[in-house]
Symmetry: C2
Subunit: 420 residues, 2 copies
Amino acid sequence: MHELFTVLPPGDAFAIFGRGCSPVDRSEIVPLEAALGRVLAVDVVAPETLPAFARSTMDGYAVRALDTHGASEQSPAYLRLVGDVPTGVVPRVAVGPREAIRTHTGAMIPPGADAVVMVEDTNQTPSTSSGQAEIEVLASVAPGEDVLVIGEDIVAGALAVPAGRRLRAADLGGLAALGIVRVTVWAQPRIAILSTGDEVVPIGAAPGPAQVRDVNATTVTAIVAAAGGIPIPCGIVPDDAAELEASLRAAREAADAIVLSAGSSVSVRDLTAEAVSRLGPPGVLVHGIAIKPGKPTVLAICSGTPVVGLPGNPASALVVAWRIVRPLVRLLGGEAVDPDGLGDERELSAVLDVPVPSRPGREDFVPCTLARDAAGAFHATPVFGASNLIFTLIRADALIAVPLDRSGLAAGETVRVVVP
Amino acid sequence: MHELFTVLPPGDAFAIFGRGCSPVDRSEIVPLEAALGRVLAVDVVAPETLPAFARSTMDGYAVRALDTHGASEQSPAYLRLVGDVPTGVVPRVAVGPREAIRTHTGAMIPPGADAVVMVEDTNQTPSTSSGQAEIEVLASVAPGEDVLVIGEDIVAGALAVPAGRRLRAADLGGLAALGIVRVTVWAQPRIAILSTGDEVVPIGAAPGPAQVRDVNATTVTAIVAAAGGIPIPCGIVPDDAAELEASLRAAREAADAIVLSAGSSVSVRDLTAEAVSRLGPPGVLVHGIAIKPGKPTVLAICSGTPVVGLPGNPASALVVAWRIVRPLVRLLGGEAVDPDGLGDERELSAVLDVPVPSRPGREDFVPCTLARDAAGAFHATPVFGASNLIFTLIRADALIAVPLDRSGLAAGETVRVVVP
């Protein structure tokens, strides 16, 4: 054996590696409409209180709750109808004792009123002899009923959205509600993507005999982009120590992290690990992770730049990119990352239809299809074909994650499934 | 009551509505690097076979399996070492009987060989007196062992990636492996987004008394974009039948579908439903869905254009946008959509920490936080606060989906959780 190959569980490997990785320290201000999926760089505090005025949550009548006390179908309360306040209009009349004002969902509650009786619990009676319209209230309401009070959503000065949050539709909605139309977000981390190998040609080229196309640049680019990074394409480097080192140095200048995919042969891995080590201290931290497919993975920090050396096999590279590169990009992007790594993925539970063999001491990712039964539960069926073939992954909906400590999964068992 | 309010379960509502919706019939050709998340418009058939040559999956020696028959540590087989074939190189020597050629992961298997003995199962002996290098083989291998044979990944003429697939990293990798650098994808559906309401002002404006900002345009835009649609902003329309109808007609010209958010008061809903109906036959198909929050939803098809009328309340609008608008956009975008609707979301199972009350006959979406226990299982805890407030959603990681037929969920129960 040419190398010291200390194989670590993926979670431990990422923990050791992640300790050396810091979020990019560049932020930028973007308009709200460009902020979906960006990571908030600073806490946003509510500049105002919402709702800013008491609002009705129902169509009905704004009343004093006390006036409805004891009201029922058998014994209605009778209230004088003294106005109608549409949405968007400031009431000009207050609700006095034994009075009601017509209200609508979203309309401002008139002064004096403290509750809304919904229209279904009322009858509007014909005008009385005095010419005054009246309503019959058929149910009692408590103070505050069907009223959204001032500050019920958020009060000025409260934390609206925390720093480190990858902004979702709801977060943008809350910011919009507060009139915040620009936000400070972390810059997207730039990830240099490099392929190595004498046998590797660009995807647009016709491979000669014994050559293959550079699949990993395409898949890693997609995973980096989906994780919120900016992929920086750095091409294909032959298996030559000097060229590799020069390319790595150039990549480091252009990017916040480097992902290279190298051949999986021991000689090429040695070459890669040595070139990476020469890039700066501390160098290679992890050489080999207990994952299938994907074992021959190198994780390094070189003078502050994280470097991931993926296996050359496209399916292995994909699995490690999901398990390691994706959380790395999110961490560099300023997001809080689940130390277990899987939590950031689409993950679900499924009932396993057939047994899956495995070996304790490594995480196995087994391509599977998913189907739902009548009750809505997911069922996972492994896809026929070797897990180290890319078209096996293409036929799959998801990957069954076989935990480190299991020697296989039984049919009927509920298992964790990751949808990449 | 002013309206006939036939409330349908969300699944039934979407099924009726979806039957009237056809995918956009426009396609476009995009380079592979711009195809992530786009929907393939035509089946892609493999133009070539992969791998194109038999490859080693290990570092070791290419041999004839027969020559290793019975080999063991105690009784090694001895083979003459007749060459070394690095990756990317075409072998110039064949493996004859009782011969071996050094091979490397990814290298072409030389003619004559039908298996690889991994290096760990061999010893290279010093050259014999004849000057001929030899290896000791310490284990027998079967024909095909550690060899990736021609066509094992995919054969020319086979379906590589099916039409209707939203392209993932793995799909792009498979296409790249085949040298396919451009793909035909469906055009992204254009979704007109309209807000209505006399009380609604743009998010950059300072609301007057009794006014609110247009939160829904922001959230719906985000959900449409995340689902693969192109949001077409159409502004705010007052609660006026003629203006609303004119705006809807203009929106229809500009887009493949219309999403409008209207107030939730009966009079505004009536106004909206009438304006939508005048847009073309068959008009309103669903008026009210059994979902909380989000009941006052209108679904219509008007002369072929799908129209979704969302409730005005921002939290309700968000939930219905997830449940209805998102699958609509995916359906229009050419993707196969799960009739149950939820399957396209990030969905997972979680153990409920406290009971959640509900009412049979409607789907409840209850905002919750998620945490993982030591065993990796998710636990869901409902977020304190009304589900119809946007900041309740912001504090939530996910929504607990209470099925239609349940009158509540018990503590300790495993429940479905949707991560929007």
